[in-house]
């Protein structure tokens, strides 16, 4: 009968940081990789909003980042569904 569940709070903070700050950071890494390449160099200095630089390696890395994010979201939704639909209690 404790008033504060420290273990749960600790987990919410750590997983919250990993998912809530980590995933958008991965998205930022993806944007960064995507921007590498010749096309970006051409527009350097201007306030262009061109996202795709054209470097193949950069584009592959970016694609991987975005895939990992999508996978993490799908996994998260699945977990929520699993927690939210527990097996019905046996009728007595």
């Amino acid at each position: 009968m404790s008033w504060i569940n420290l273990q749960a709070i600790w987990k919410i903070v750590v997983f919250g940081l990993v998912l809530g700050a980590g995933l958008p950071s991965l998205f930022a890494v993806g944007l960064f990789s995507l921007s590498k390449g010749p096309r970006r160099a051409a527009t350097e200095g201007g306030d262009s909003d061109v996202l795709v630089g054209g470097n193949p390696l950069g584009m592959v890395i970016a694609g991987l980042c975005f895939l990992v994010i999508l996978a993490a979201i799908a996994w998260g939704i699945y977990e929520v569904y699993k927690i939210g639909h527990p097996a019905p209690a046996p009728a007595k």
């Binding site: 009968m1 998912l19 700050a21 944007l31």
Partner: protein, 392 residues
Amino acid sequence: MSARDALRVRNDVVLVLVVVVALSFDFTNGFHDTGNAMATSIATKALSPRVAVALSGVLNLVGAFLSLAVAATIASGLVDTNLVTLQVVAAGLAGGIIWNLLTWLLGIPSSSSHALIGGVVGATIAAAGGHAIQWHGLVSKVIIPAGLSPIIAALVAATGTWLLYRISRSLSEGARSHGFRIGQIGSACMVSLAHGTNDAQKTMGVITLALIVNKTIPAGSNAPFWVILSCGLAISLGTYLGGWRVIRTLGKGLVEIESPQGMAAESASAAVILLSSGFGYSLSTTHVATGSIIGSGLGKKGGEVRWNVAGRMATAWVFTLPAAGVVGAGAYALAHAVSGTPGVLVLLVILAAIAGVIYWRSRASKVDHNNVNAEWTGSVAPADQPEPAKAA
């Protein structure tokens, strides 16, 4: 004694009234909380206001079907269900709705969950006394998470904001804001989904409780399909109509937001809400979203948080539980004095009248999709009414 008797009497008329009031609450919950998910996307123009509220509405409906965990907590964890009657449920809902409408009029993003819980707790105390409340559950599952969740959300959002600016610092201003605006669409959708799994549940729990109290369904039943569907529809309709006043306070009033901050704030909100639901805390999505937005202001170098606006919100949060409780208790006293089905009817009429007055008052200082993004001048309603916000 009368409470006990009422328990045993089936009263389908009152049941229908309670369901109507519960769905009305769900509707106010939807339009009060649109801002939690969409305020930052609208403020950074990642999504147009109309598209944002439509998307959020659909995702709330999906979210309502995604999880049924929180519904049970609301029904059984806070009050002694044996002492609850349909009248108590109706009075509690009335307390929640009135508080929700008042805070909406003032543009304060207060917690719909706390309004509902406060209303039900207040009505229960009025009906059966303080011993009918599970105080431990109330403190450990509602009050402590209410204090901690915005702080955790702010920490996550501040960390995320700092990281996003650090990683993307070599990008040009335009590319960065373009890129994160795309990301924001995804993160805002996650918040809407999380909102559906959390807030639509609370009304489902209350309706299920009413059905059990009325012996329409046996104790321990899950929410029937029509309850899930109607709650999902009510909250998504409310979301679609959009609480422009609250959206404005959240999106423009607290922090001037850029798209990386918006994405960081939304990701933090979605993660904290979904994780907390997993651990059984039915927390307030409003508190989390506000904490995240403040965090996104703290995490950016030179970011500015309007602490006076934040302080006004925190004050409303502290008052939400007791104030909704007092209104709930008053509503019960009224319904009980008239007694029976007429009592609940009188309650409904008064509720509708109050809602009408508040709606009429809101027309005097209208906030809608046209002026939601107008420059923040210290008040909810933009200073210059007829001027369209397109000027910028």
